[in-house]
Symmetry: C2
Subunit: 111 residues, 2 copies
């Protein structure tokens, strides 16, 4: 029933994590999801119904460029890479995120 935080993702953090996975080089969508899953030790599972629309929006915003290629497992896939604008966005988002988290933790820890 989508009870706020009892969900797959913390809303508003998907773009940031996608940008982060791409910050060391291009990846295709499926690999992005797997990487986030791995890095989070299995805690963050990105549904592809969330991932691909997000990638699409990010293309429109000019944060990413995409081109078709072949994976190391010999399959057709669309590789996304960061644009300079996307890299800048990553910086802004992670800074805003950290600030937000600190503020929330202040509220949650204040007795």
């Amino acid at each position: 029933m989508g009870d706020s935080l009892n969900q797959d993702l913390l809303p508003g953090t998907l773009y940031m994590m996608i940008l982060q996975t791409l910050s060391h080089g291009p990846l295709h969508g499926y690999a992005i999801a797997r990487r986030i899953l791995d890095w989070s030790k299995g805690d963050l599972e990105i549904e592809d119904g969330s991932l691909y629309p997000a990638l699409s929006r990010m293309l429109n915003k000019g944060w990413l460029k995409a081109e078709w290629g072949i994976t190391d497992t010999n399959r057709r896939a669309r590789f996304y890479r960061l644009t300079p604008k996307g890299r800048e966005q990553l910086g802004q988002e992670s800074e805003a995120f950290n600030k937000m988290i600190r503020a929330i933790q202040l509220v949650m820890k204040t007795a």
Copy 2:
């Protein structure tokens, strides 16, 4: 323009913070917002167009009970207090939040 994290609030955390402010005793809506603003040192400003609908949903979920009273500044106000269910919800949400944050930080720090 509503660029994900460039907003007032991290979506999905409002319930949790409201529950937290009420965990030490009843408050009216306006005071909840002010308390979150104070505790976050001015960083988290709850719009009343977000607050009152949220309080209303929380009443429906049975997390809160409300009754009308008079503030110390002698004004009519609706005082909200946690139900046992709400207290349990607070525990669950803050646990889920911490876990989520840890997972995201893993992703964001992985080189």
